[in-house]
Subunit: 240 residues, 2 copies
């Protein structure tokens, strides 16, 4: 049966999410495809397609995710996906920019304490990593980074996204007047992105097994130093 959700609830009951399920998906109980034609009520199918797409893009990356697989996961005909989103790129963009995903980090919340370096580093790490930690937004983050790192064509999009986030944060933080603010912000971004990929995408031990607060406890002090003047660059021969 088609899931009969008359409301627009963002997370209806559905098959187990495909993330961390590498093998062939569990067989659907019955295909039981209904005939052509519109369904009664507000089906919410569009959102269902976006959710399936986001989960599959997060699990398989862009290239290995097929429109047919999205349609099957959402229990609709593949042509309906084309009807709503034209082509595969349209599905990806819509899924990644949907309310189910993450639009632009550091947009809504301004930094709390300008000038307080430790508070700013803590806020930065907690805000960014929360997008990974939260079940609601992790799929979007995974999809974005998987797709963006996949090949040199898609890397341009992710590069722009990262540079924009980094620049925005650098410009509004208390470090903005320092000449190396941009460099430090980029280094901090790389630091955070790398740790997030280790913990949430690759799931390397022991980072993936920690509690979130313990993870933060390791990350935040290092980030504080990166952003503070205590940590200065030092070239190879110039050790004091």
């Amino acid at each position: 049966m088609t899931p009969s959700r008359t409301d627009g609830s963002p997370t209806p009951d559905r098959k187990p999410s495909p993330l961390r399920a590498p093998g062939p998906a569990a067989k659907k109980p019955r295909p039981l495809r209904a005939r052509s034609g519109r369904r009664p009520g507000d089906s919410g199918t569009r959102e269902q397609i976006l959710e399936s797409a986001l989960h599959l893009f997060a699990d398989r990356g862009y290239a290995r995710t097929t429109i047919r697989a999205i349609a099957e996961d959402a229990q609709v005909d593949p042509a309906l996906v084309h009807h709503f989103f034209d082509n595969k790129e349209g599905v990806f963009d819509a899924a990644v920019n949907s309310p189910l995903s993450v639009s632009s980090i550091f947009d809504e919340l301004p930094p709390p304490l300008e000038g307080d370096t430790t508070a700013e580093a803590s806020w930065l790490a907690r805000t960014y990593l929360s997008f990974w930690e939260d079940d609601e937004t992790r799929y979007g983050m995974t999809a974005i980074y998987r797709a963006g790192l996949a090949d040199s064509a898609t890397s341009a999009t992710l590069r722009a996204r990262v540079e924009e986030s980094t620049a925005k944060w650098a410009a509004t933080s208390g470090y903005k007047d320092r000449p190396d603010a941009e460099t430090r912000a980029a280094l901090a971004s790389g630091h955070l992105v790398g740790l997030a990929l280790m913990r949430y995408v690759l799931q390397v031990h022991p980072l993936a097994d920690m509690e979130f607060e313990e993870f933060l406890a390791w990350v935040v002090p290092a980030l504080e130093l990166r952003l503070s003047s205590e940590l200065e660059p030092r070239r190879a021969g110039t050790q004091t």
Copy 2:
């Protein structure tokens, strides 16, 4: 004409490497396919195929690299690629484990100064990042990370690789007796991987524009702190 290289030189003259060339490849001057049959002399075609494969995997990732594209780049018939390496996965494994690539980092060189924390951090950063910086090995690194981050199936391979490198380094370094050695090594790995991806894969400004030594000058001191006891984890409420 088929490139007539009778020696096994690793980098013969070939078309411009496809990395950073997102569009359709430059059209080959003349197809001029020879008829069937073996060519006179030691053609070195096998190595040519591996080199083309490595460059294309680095540029387009695994899924978007086709055997036909590899064959075209190497100016051979696609069936020859199958003949040498069976299937696509075989091509990838052979390319990534070939002398043109990177077999296993931290295998050959042992750490120089056990117990000297600053020297060990510096050696770790320089050794790892040199694989990215060097033209000869960068394609292998890019291919490995692009493929390994692409989807949850291939992530298992990269996770094993990273965990093995991290564990090996942690076990042989001067930190090995500390209880949190494994954690610190994993954090340092994530730090380095993230910065490498920013600089070499995404090519984020300004990290991608720096001189290598300047980049190292920023990275090494942070890594020293991560590995030393100066930097301790600190939970949210317990700020001193």
